[in-house]
């Protein structure tokens, strides 16, 4: 994958990426702010429904400069969600959680696949 350019964003006369987003991505401070906001929103959305993981991943993807960075950001979101999942429970330790196989395979898998799947939207927008 190569980095997106303004020319690509307007291929065939259709603007896939809003101008403000293109600009935000190009400015490090704004991009980082957007990323942080996307990560926070992603954790909150994940608390509502598992589809929130995908939406969160998509937000992270949209705030990322490139698709590879979007995927890395999505993985960070997955880790954040998992961390919050364990920390938010006053009774569940990491070891106890991980021992609950095969249920935790689904939990861990979803924490990775959900945000990454959403982050693929970076290849679209």
């Amino acid at each position: 994958m190569s980095e997106a350019t303004p020319a690509e964003e307007t291929t065939a006369g259709f603007r896939w990426t809003p101008e403000w987003l293109t600009e935000a991505r190009s400015r490090p401070y704004r991009r980082r702010s957007l990323l942080v906001a996307a990560l926070v929103a992603g954790v909150l959305l994940a608390w509502l429904h598992w589809v929130g993981l995908v939406l969160g991943g998509a937000l992270v993807g949209l705030a990322s400069r490139t698709l590879p960075r979007a995927v890395v950001g999505a993985l960070v979101l997955g880790l954040l969600v998992l961390g919050t999942h364990v920390v938010a429970s006053p009774t569940m330790g990491v070891g106890e959680f991980l021992a609950l196989r095969p249920l935790t395979y689904v939990t861990l898998g979803l924490a990775v696949v959900g945000p990454v799947w959403g982050a693929l939207v970076r290849a679209v927008v």
């Binding site: 994940a46 429904h49 598992w50 589809v51 995908v54 919050t84 429970s89 106890e96 095969p102 249920l103």
Partner: protein, 791 residues
């Protein structure tokens, strides 16, 4: 790629379709359950048990000790039992829910298709109606008010506390608890201890064998010479000295179909007590360990309740408010199963929806119940009742087979009142009064106060009369003729019990010097027939051996001795069989020499580091198979029909079941035992004998099962851990009347897998160790405060 609008559109569509497809596919349920943060399985994990609770019954305080045993203090009993209900639910709600669902035939509604057959059986047995009859018997009493307070406490937790993990996993919410649910838990205990289709199995066996073979395999009293009450048992002995067939067409297939739902057959228990005459302190001591199913979480829940001048600590079944077995400042008590026959079977002449009873055609009382099935098709089951109880039907070989069942637990019973009164008993007299209300289950009650030891068989035992003669309930009776029916019994109503064995005529001893029970026959010569199936007596024999030896040596008994006896691992079966194995040594291959040498030097103790214990354990199973397997297979009778252990170890060497050559059977069994050991790679008994105590969902989530620890003992030793450790000592208690008491359960108090008290007692239990059973409120520890509501 990103520059191509078509490809962008396709990719966008793929992303959306992936999410939509997952949401609409069968995998969505799994994602809804397991997703991080939002998953249903985790919702209960984000909350804690509320530790400030409003109570309509007044103030109460709960302080948990280091082992998560709640110490409940209150000014009124209602306030205390409201708090008890709350802590039971906080620690064991899922277990409570499973029990009520099991007994009510509503398990499939929670767990789905696999429970349908069990639900149909439990619905047909109308256990809920039996519980409702007991609720009616209890109504209006002081105890009823306390059970209602308990129920309110459970429901307060259901409303306010986090759901147990299992509810979240299965995706259903707990329904409100009721008084009848508490009595359903009581039904489960009673059915577990006295519900048996043994009578039908015996009838099958009578058909299968000639009269002489049947008699010697199943009817001869075991000649171990150690009934509970022996000839030289001191004190005032009661219930001794006599006062005064067939299958009836029931199909053997029906017997097998019903026996599928029989409680596990290995339930037994030990207790023994020594009077102050023989103890170092001069006060009596009680040791007790009931052998029930071992599971995660354990069947027992330990609690202490302090109200006014009552201070009681012991174990109960979650769902029942009061301490069932335990100790207060005046006495200590426990129960072992008597093995009394309190269930009968009847056949009827029938015509469609009617049955003949004493010359009159009567309609079956019928009710159609729906068995709801989670993720499956609901079923309907017809619950039928007769004058005697329920009428159970099964399709066997494309024919409808049926039998009437009468069980004492189908009536209104008063054991809940009795259990409540145990807590308040101030000595033998009070306890004796209380156990007269202990209608079910039939138990060997053993009680010590500061002065004496008291033993009594409790529970309602029917007297059957045929042609004016008292008969045992070991056959199927003619229900249409009203044969052998129980006078004063009202199924699903209130019984007068007038035709049952009077309290005074049940075996008992007051003022015994020492006495032990281990499910063996209570007395050699009971006034009325009690039962047909008693334990082989290996444990009972060993308990009396140790007690006799100690007391004959005039070595005063103390708590250490009682503990050592509760930890005794000598297997009497081994002591009876190993000499014969060694005699048959010349029939065995040289490969077996190391194992035979180990047996020759062995002290018959089933201990984890013993090679001999390992080979004997495997040998015994092989020897049973070798002796009974082919003969019973030829009769199409499965293992549950095989004779008991005492019959096996005392079978004459030239018996036909050995084909006249026991030495050959012993040698073959030894060869097989060593093959088993080599195949599995075991070296010592502890390699095989490990705790395997599992959770109901342990098959799906292995982490919920308890850890595996090596342990000792066998199903025939006083230190009781059955094959596979699925049953054994479910509670160990040592109660000196003048000293510190001890207890332990095989697991932990908290039913939550996430709690440090899920299995914190297990390793010590496996090692035969104890924890204190103290009567002091801990100074530190988690607390729950209940604040009385003001109007």
């Amino acid at each position: 790629m990103s520059g191509n609008p078509t490809r962008r559109a396709v990719l966008g569509a793929l992303i959306g379709a992936g999410v939509g497809g997952a949401a609409l596919s069968p995998v969505a349920d799994l994602l809804d359950t397991a997703a991080p943060l939002s998953g249903g399985a985790w919702q209960g994990r984000y909350g804690t048990v509320p530790d400030a609770v409003s109570s309509p019954h007044g103030d109460a305080a709960v302080t948990y000790d280091d082992h998560h045993v709640p110490h409940v203090e209150a000014d009124t009993e209602a306030a205390a039992y409201y708090a008890v209900g709350y802590v039971h639910a906080a620690d064991r709600l899922f277990q409570m829910d499973l029990i009520r669902r099991l007994m009510d035939g509503r398990l499939a509604e929670a767990v789905g298709e696999p429970a349908v057959s069990s639900d149909e059986f439990h619905a047909e047995m109308a256990f809920r109606d039996g519980a409702a009859a007991s609720a009616e018997a209890l109504a209006g009493s002081e105890v009823a008010e306390l059970v209602e307070a308990y129920t309110a406490g459970v429901n307060e937790y259901i409303d306010a506390g986090p759901d147990p993990f299992e509810f979240d996993l299965l995706g259903y919410d707990a329904e409100p608890w009721s008084v009848t649910d508490t009595l359903l838990v009581g039904q489960q205990i009673s059915w577990g201890l006295t519900g048996s289709f043994h009578t039908l199995q015996r009838a099958v066996l009578r058909d299968a064998f000639d009269a002489e073979t049947y008699r010697r395999l199943y009817e001869e009293p075991f000649d171990h010479g150690a009934p509970i009450v022996r000839e030289d048992t001191g004190g005032e002995i009661m219930g001794v000295g006599s006062a005064e067939d067939t299958l009836r067409g029931v199909d053997a297939g029906l017997v097998d179909a019903l026996a599928e739902h029989e409680p596990p057959p290995r339930l037994g228990s030990n207790h023994w007590a020594v009077s102050g005459e023989h103890t170092a302190s001069g006060s009596p001591i009680l040791a007790y360990d009931p052998h029930l199913t071992l599971m995660a979480p354990p069947v027992w829940y330990e609690q202490r309740v302090v109200v006014g001048d009552v201070d009681v600590r012991g174990a109960t079944f979650p769902g029942i408010p009061f301490v069932i077995v335990g100790e207060n400042e005046h006495g200590a008590w426990g129960f072992t199963n008597t093995g009394a026959d309190v269930i009968d079977f009847y056949t009827y002449e029938t015509d469609g929806d009617e049955y003949l009873y004493e010359g009159e055609w009567r309609p079956f009382e019928t009710e159609t119940r729906t068995i709801r099935v989670a993720d499956g098709e609901n079923r309907e089951v017809e619950v039928k009742k007769t004058v005697h109880g329920v009428y159970v039907e099964r399709e066997v070989n494309d024919e409808t087979q049926a039998v009437g069942v009468s069980w004492t637990g189908m009536s209104g019973t008063r054991e809940t009142e009795a259990i409540y009164e145990f807590s308040r008993a101030t000595g033998v007299e009070d306890y004796r009064e209380a156990i007269q209300k202990f209608d079910v289950p039939t138990q060997n009650a053993l009680y010590v106060d500061s002065d004496e030891v008291y033993y009594k068989v409790t529970g309602q035992i029917p007297i059957r009369r045929v042609d004016g003669r008292v008969v045992p309930g070991d056959r199927v009776f003619d229900g249409s003729a009203g044969e052998a029916e129980w006078d004063g019994f009202e199924p699903f109503g209130q019984s007068s019990w007038e035709g049952f064995v009077p309290f005074e005529d049940k075996p008992g001893v007051r003022g015994a010097g020492y006495l032990g029970t281990a499910n063996q026959r209570p007395v050699d010569d009971p006034t009325y027939p009690i039962g047909q199936a008693y334990a082989s007596g290996f444990r009972g024999l060993r308990i009396y051996e140790r007690l006799d030896e100690r007391i004959a040596a005039e070595d005063p008994v103390d708590s250490s001795f009682m503990q050592s006896l509760q930890r005794d691992t000598l297997d009497v079966r081994a002591r009876m069989l190993v000499p014969a194995i060694l005699e048959a040594r010349d029939r065995m291959s040289a490969d077996l020499d190391p194992w035979l040498d180990a047996l020759a030097e062995w002290d018959y103790r089933m201990e984890r580091d013993s090679e001999a214990a390992l080979v004997f354990d495997r040998f015994y199973d092989r020897f049973r198979e070798e002796t009974w397997g082919d003969d019973f297979d030829a009769l199409d009778l499965e293992e549950s029909y095989w004779p008991q252990g005492w019959v096996l170890v005392t079978l004459p060497p030239d018996d036909a079941f050995f084909d006249g050559d026991r030495a050959d059977a012993l040698a073959t069994a030894m060869e097989g035992a060593v093959e088993d050991i080599e195949r599995e790679g075991w070296s010592v008994y502890g390699d095989k004998k490990r705790t395997t105590i599992d959770h109901q969902f342990g098959g799906q989530l292995g982490a919920l099962n308890y850890p595996r620890y090596p342990t000792d003992g066998s199903g025939a030793t006083v230190f009781n851990v059955h094959e596979g450790t699925a049953a054994g000592s479910s509670w160990r208690q040592i109660s000196p009347m003048d000293g510190d008491s001890l207890s332990i359960i095989p697991g932990g108090q908290d039913g939550s897998y996430f709690s440090p008290h899920y299995d914190d007692q297990l390793e010590r239990w496996a090692n035969g160790e104890y924890k204190p059973m103290a009567f002091e409120v801990p100074e530190t520890g988690p607390t729950i405060s209940f604040r009385g509501e003001t109007e």
